[in-house]
Symmetry: D2
Subunit: 434 residues, 4 copies
C-alpha cells in the first residue's frame, strides 16, 4: 500500500525481517516463473530505492536543506503507483583500475557531473552491464565505490526516464535466443531472457527533482555498499533458483541414465544440493538477523550472512556445473537436432537408440540433454560470468569479509587459552572489536 | 525442572526451537570454557535420552505392554536429579564391514543379547570410541545401524553404571598430555582433554529396568538416526568453537607477522571465517526448523541443515588447518622450548630474535606458535580423525543427504521448462516426493 | 614411408618414444593451426590402427588362421597411401548402464554381428559421439568395453567407407557456428569446428577384408583399453592447446585490465599455467616411459602418466575456466556487438568507454572479450562436456588408476616401518604386485 | 671422485641430467631408509655448494681478484674428502616482514656483517629453522632474499664449523620422540627424526678462507634463488617418499577395513597416488630439462617443473592427509596402548575385537593405526608446517610461477585467433618473451 493504493510487493519498503523474507520469496517465485531467468526490473529498482531512502534520510538529518529524502520518497511513490520497471546502472567502465575516478586520463571513465545549476545537473559517462535498461521505464544511477574529496563530482545518484535525450543503451547481442534454431534448442532462452546494455550518458540533463545525492563524496561508499547489500540479498534469492535448475536437471538425468545409486553420482548430487541450500541458508539468516535503521525505520539484510552466501554462490558455480555435466554425459554436446528427429527415416532410429527409461520418453530425454547444453553453452556464456562476477567480484568480497568480521570472540578465546595455559597475563588484551 | 527440582539445562527436554538454541549455546560456552575441548558427558547422554524417549513412546503406543517409555522416563529423572555424567557407546567394532551383524564369523563383533529372562538381559560385544566413559557414572548403549530380522539380537539399547561387572573400559593413551613437557607445550591439553575408550561388554547383566529397547530390529535404524541427529546438532555446537580456535589463532598470528593486509592472508582468513560461520548457520536453522514429534511433544533438529552443517565441518577441517599453518609459518614446528627461554644465556637472545610486534611480547608470541603446534601436532592426531569422522563418515553423510533430499521443486522446475519450452506435455509428471 | 612412398606422419607407426613425441608435437601444432580445435581425422584413425595392429598380431600368433594382422596391415597401407581421413566409432549408446550388452532388452543397444558368413558380416547398432565421421573417408568401429562370452557377438572391430549403404550419420546441430552473427562473435568457430554424429549401423555389410576382430570376446577389453591409451595420449596433446587458449586469453585480459600484478590474479594465472603444463608433463613422460610390444615392435604410451594427465585435464577444466572468467570480468557477457561498433553514432562512444591500454586497441580488446564469451558460451556447450568426459569418464579413470597402480614400494615401505619400529616380523609380507 | 679419492655421491657436482637423476634417487633411497625422514645433512650442503660454485664463478669472472670460486672449491674438496655433514642456514628471523633488512628497527633481524678486515669478517644475526645443525660438522650460511644496495651488509655467504665460538644452536623440543611412550607409538620417530634449531650468530668470526660472498648485494637474489632451485629439487625427492608413506598406509588400511573396492575409497587412493606421482613427474622433467651453466659446466634443475612440483606438494599435502584419515577411520585416535594389549586380562579381548583380516594380525593392524596417529599427530605438528612451508611459501611460489613463465606461445595463439577470426591485424604484436 502506497498512498492508499495497492502496489507491487516489490515496492513495499522492508520494515521487518518478515518483509525481507516475503520479498525473497517473491523473487524466488518470479524467477521460477521465468524458468530460472530473473525478472530484475522491479527488484533492483526497489533495492536502489531502499538504499537511497536510508542514506538520504541520514544526509537530510545533518542538513535538512539538502532535501534528498523527500525527493527519493516522491520517486518511490511515483514508481510504486505506476508499477514502473526500473534498471539500475552502477558499475562504471573504470578505465585503468589502479587509478581513482579523478586520476583517470579520460575524466569520463567514471560517470560525473559536468554542470550543475538550480534546475538540475548534466552528467557524462558510461555504466557497464545495466540489466534490462532497454525494457525499463526509468534508469536509476548510483555511485560504484567509495570516493575521496577529489572525486566529488563522481559522487552522484539520480534517476532519468529510459528515453531521456543523450542516454544511449547499447544492448549486448542476444546470442542465446539467436542460436536456438528450434524451440528445443532454446528451451529457456527462446522464452525468457535478460539483456544487458552499455549505458552511455552523453551529457544527459537530470532535473533537480530526480537528483538524490550530489557530490556527497563522504557517503558514496556507504550508498554503494548499502545498495550492494540489498542487491546481494536479491541475488541470493534468484541464484538459488538457478542452482535449482542445475540440481533438477542432474537428478532427472541420473534417473534417465540409471546411475542414481552410483556412489560418485550421489556425491555430485549432494554437492548440487549443498550449492542450492547454502544460498537458502544465507537468505534466511540475512533476513532474520536484519539490521534496523532507526532513522528511516527500515531494515537491511545482515551483511555477514549475505556475504558468505554470495561468496559460496560465486565460487562454487563452476564446480556445480561440472557436477551436472559429469552426471549427464557426452550427449549434452552431441545430441542431434529436433529437425532430424522429425524426419521419418531418422526419427525412429533416434527413438530406438536414444531411448530413455520408464520415467521419460525418448523425446523428453533428448530435450533434457538439450536443456543442459543450453545451460552450459549458449546461456553458459552469460551465466558463468554472471554467477562468478555479478554483484561484485570474489576478490573484493573476500577482502570485505575479512575486514568487516568481528574477530572479538575468537581472539578472546585464544587469549584465554594463552593466559590459562601459562598461568600468566597477556601484554595486551584483545578487545571485542579490534 | 524435573520433579520440582532445578536440574542441569543439559537434561531439559527440548520442546521448542528455543530450547534447542539454548542447548546449543550451553554447549558452545562450556566448550569455550574447556578451551575448545568439548565436555561431552552430559550433552551426549541427553542426546541419547531424547532419542530414546521419542522412539520408546512410539513403540509403547503400538504395544503398551512393552513399557519402554516409563523406564526411559525414570532413567531421565534419575540422571537429571543426580546430575550424572553419561557416556554413550554406539559404534560397534564391526569386523568385516561388508557383512551384516549376524553374518560375521565372530558373532560378537556387534554387541548382542546372549541371554534374556524376566530379570533382564546379558550382553556381549564391544563398542569403539566411547568418549569419557572412564569418568562417567553411566554408560548408555545404542544400536549403531539399521537391522534386519536376522539381526534382532543386535537391536538393543540400555544403560549400566560404569562400574558394572564385566564392563571393561580400555582407554586410549593420553598422547597430548604426555607429550607436553612444559605447560606452554600443552596449553590446551595439559588442562583440558577428553579420553576415548574401547568399551567391552564381557557378558554384562542389564536389569530389565534399564533395558530401553530389546530386539526391536525394525526400529533400530530409526533410533540410531534420531540419536545421530541430536548428536550432530550437539557436534555442530562444539565444532564451531574448534573452528574459532583456528580462526583466532590465525588472526592473531597474522597480526604478529604483520601480514594481515596481504591479499592471500585475507583470503585464508575469509576461508576460516566461513568455516566457523557455516556451522553457526546450520545450528541456527536446524533449531528454527526443528521438527515436532507429536506423540512425545519433543522437537528434534532439522536433518537437512544438520547434515549440511556436519558435511561442511567434516570436509573442510583439513583445509582450514592448512590456512592456519600457511598464515603462521615454519616457527610452528621449529620454536625452541620454554626451558631454553628461561636460561639466562639464551633467553635474551630468543627474546631479541623472536620479538613480536607492539600487540604481543616475545613470550606471548612464542606461545601462540606453540598453541598452533599443539593444534596441528599432539592434538592434531585426535582432532583430524575426530573432525573428519566423528558423528558419522563423510561417505555415509553424502549418501544420506542425496537420499533424503526432497527433489520435488527442482524436478517440477525442470518439468515446467521442458513443457513450456517445447509446448508439449511430459510422459510422466514428477511428483513432489519421488 | 609406407611401401616406398612418403606418407603422413599421422600414419607412421610408433616404434620408439621419439616417434610418440613427434606424433604429439604434430597434434599440438595442427591443433594450434586450428585455433584450439583439434583436427582429429587422421589422429584417431592411427590410434585405432596401432591398437588393432598390436592386438591382431597377438591373436594371429595363437591362431594364424585368423588372419587379422595382414588385413589390418593392408588397411593401414591403404589409408596411408591415400592419406585418408578416418573417424572412429567406439562408444555404444548403451541403454541401461547397469546391464551388459547381451542383457539389454533391446539387443541392438550395443553394436553387434547379426549375420556372418564367408564373405563378411552384417552389423547392427549405434555409436554415439563419433567425431568428424561426416567428413571422413572411412569409419572404423571398435568395441567399447570388456565382454563376457555371452557378449561375443558384440566383440567386433572393422572399417567401412563412410558412404556405405545402411550407415547413417546423424550430425549434431552446429550451434557454435550458427550463433555467431558476425565473425567477431565466432572467432574460432566460424572458421574451425568439429562435428560429432550419432552413427547408426542399420544392418551394414562389412566385407571380410575389413573385419579386424570378430567375436574375440576375451580380447575386447584389451583392444578397447589399448585404443583408449593411444587416444588419451592424443587427447593430452590437443588438450594442452585448449588449455593454452585459456591461459593466453587470461594473460592478455589481465594486461588489458591492468590487474596483472594483483595477488589474486597472479594466483589464477599460476593455476592456468599449471593446468596447461601438467598435460605437457604427462605427455613427455608417457612417451619417454612408453612400453614396447615385442611381437609387433610397436610402442604404446605409459598408462600411469597418460591416466594421471587425463584425470587432471578432466577434473580441472571447469575451475580453469572459472579462473579465466574471474580475471576477465563481466564484459565477457555484456559486450555490445561489432555491428553497433560499426555505426557512426555509437562506435566512437564504444571506443571511448571500452578503451584498452597501450597494448591493444579498443577494438582488439572488445574481440578478446568476445573470444572468452565464445569459449565459455557457444563453444562452452561443446568444450565443457568434452573436457570432462571425452576419452572416458572421471569415475572410470579413478577406478582404473587405483586398480592398475603398483602399490609395491609403498606397501614395502610401511612394512619396513612396522617391522623396524616394533622389532617384530609381519604376519604376511606384502609383495611388490598385490 | 674428488682429487683421486672416492667421495659420497652427495658431493658429486651435477654436470648432466643423469647426475641429477642419480642424486634424486640417492635422496629417495636414503629417505626410505629413514622411514620417510629425510637425512638432510649432506644433501642440503651440496645444494648450497653447487649454487655457490655457479655464482662465485660468475662473480670471479668479472673481477678475478675476488677469489670466491677457489675458496668454494677448496671448501667443496674439504667436505667431500672428509665426508662431512653440513647444515645450511638461510631463512632470517625477519622481524617486520613489510620492511627490508636495513629498514628494520633492530638491524640484526637479518644476519649481517658487523666488522670486516683482511683476516675475515664478524657476523651477527639469527637464522630460523636450520635443520640438523646440532649434528653437523659445518654450518653454511646463505642470504635469504634479493637485496638493495642499502642492504649490502646483509649480502653474505660463508661457512663455519658448528662449534665456532659465538654460534648458538637452540634446538626445538623433540616432541615426536618424547611423546612416544612405547616403540609402537613412535614407529618412525623413536628411530628417525630431524631436529631444527634457531641458529644465532652472536658476533661470530669467519676467516676469509670461508667467506664465499661478501656484500655482493646485486647477486644476493640470484644466489638465494639458485640454492632454492637445487633445494626444491632435493625436496621433491624426499617429499615423494613422505607421500609414499601416506599412500602405503592408506592402501593397507583399506585392505584391513575391507573397503578397498568402495568407490569413495578408490577415489581417495587415486588422489594419494596422484599426490605422490606428481612429485615424481616433476623430478624427472626437472632433471631432463636441466639448464647448463656454461661457465662452471654444471647443470641446475629446470625451474618450471621444480616449481610446479613444489606447489603441488605444498598445496595438496593436507588434503592427502585427509584422504588417509578418511580411509582409516576413528581408531586412529582411539586405539588403546600396546601396554594394555600386553596384559593378560585385556590383551585377548583387544585381539578379539580389533581383529584384522587374513592379511594382517590384530597386533599388526593396531600398529598400522598407531602409525597413522603418529603421522597425523606427533609428527603432524612437524610435517604439516614443513610440507606447506619448507623451501618457500605457497604465496611466493605462485608469484614466482606467474612472473617467470614464458607466455609467448599462449599469447601468440590468441593473437592468431584474433587476427584470423577478424581478418584484421593487431595493434601490437605480442613477442615470445613479454
Amino acid at each position: 500500500m502506497v498512498d492508499g493504493r495497492l502496489v507491487s510487493t516489490f515496492y513495499k519498503l522492508c520494515r521487518t525481517p518478515a518483509d525481507l523474507l516475503t520479498r525473497s520469496r517473491l523473487i524466488e517465485e518470479t524467477t521460477r516463473a521465468g524458468s530460472g531467468v530473473f525478472n530484475i526490473v522491479q527488484a533492483i529498482g526497489s533495492d536502489a530505492i531502499m538504499a537511497l531512502m536510508i542514506v538520504s534520510k541520514a544526509l537530510d538529518q545533518s542538513d535538512p536543506s539538502k532535501g534528498y529524502f523527500p525527493r527519493v520518497s516522491r520517486f518511490h511513490e511515483f514508481v510504486a503507483k505506476n508499477d514502473l520497471a526500473l534498471a539500475v546502472a552502477q558499475t562504471d567502465v573504470k578505465g585503468d583500475r589502479m587509478l581513482r575516478p579523478s586520476e583517470q586520463k579520460d575524466k569520463d571513465l567514471y560517470l560525473r557531473v559536468v554542470e550543475a545549476n538550480e534546475k538540475g545537473v548534466v552528467v557524462r559517462g558510461a555504466k557497464a552491464h545495466t540489466t534490462q535498461a532497454i525494457v525499463s521505464d526509468e534508469v536509476v544511477v548510483l555511485p560504484t565505490r567509495a570516493m575521496t574529496e577529489a572525486d566529488r563530482d563522481y559522487a552522484i545518484a539520480f534517476s532519468v526516464p529510459a528515453n531521456t535525450r543523450g542516454l544511449k543503451l547499447i544492448a549486448r547481442p542476444l546470442v542465446e535466443a539467436e542460436s536456438a534454431m528450434t524451440p528445443e534448442e532454446g528451451l529457456i532462452s527462446s522464452k525468457n531472457i535478460e539483456v544487458e546494455s552499455l549505458t552511455i550518458f552523453d551529457d544527459v540533463f537530470v532535473p533537480k527533482e530526480r537528483v538524490f545525492f550530489l557530490r556527497e563524496w563522504e557517503a558514496a561508499g556507504i550508498l554503494a555498499n548499502l545498495f550492494g547489500l540489498y542487491h546481494r540479498f536479491t541475488a541470493l534469492s534468484y541464484r538459488q533458483v538457478i542452482a535449482e535448475t542445475l540440481l533438477g536437471a542432474a537428478k532427472m538425468m541420473a534417473e534417465q541414465n540409471g546411475t542414481e545409486s552410483a556412489s560418485h553420482v550421489r556425491e555430485k548430487l549432494a554437492h548440487l544440493i549443498m550449492y542450492r541450500e547454502q544460498s537458502r541458508m544465507a537468505i534466511r539468516l540475512a533476513a532474520l538477523d536484519a539490521v534496523k535503521d532507526e532513522l528511516s525505520g527500515m531494515v537491511y539484510p545482515n551483511s555477514l550472512w549475505a556475504n558468505i552466501g554470495k561468496l559460496q554462490s560465486n565460487t562454487q558455480y563452476m564446480s556445480s556445473v561440472q557436477s551436472l555435466v559429469d552426471i549427464a554425459g557426452g550427449l549434452v554436446s552431441t545430441m542431434p537436432s529436433p529437425e532430424d528427429y522429425a524426419r521419418k527415416d531418422i526419427g525412429p532410429l533416434m527413438k530406438k537408440y536414444l531411448a530413455g527409461n520408464a520415467k521419460m520418453s525418448s523425446e523428453e530425454r533428448m530435450n533434457l540433454f538439450r536443456l543442459i547444453r543450453e545451460l552450459t553453452g549458449s546461456m553458459g556464456g552469460l551465466l558463468a560470468p554472471a554467477m562468478v562476477h555479478a554483484e561484485g567480484s570474489i576478490a573484493a568480497s573476500l577482502i570485505a569479509l575479512a575486514r568487516e568480521y568481528d574477530f572479538g570472540s575468537s581472539k578472546a578465546l585464544i587469549t584465554k587459552i594463552l593466559v590459562e595455559g601459562t598461568g600468566k597475563g597477556l601484554k595486551h588484551k584483545p578487545r571485542a572489536r579490534p
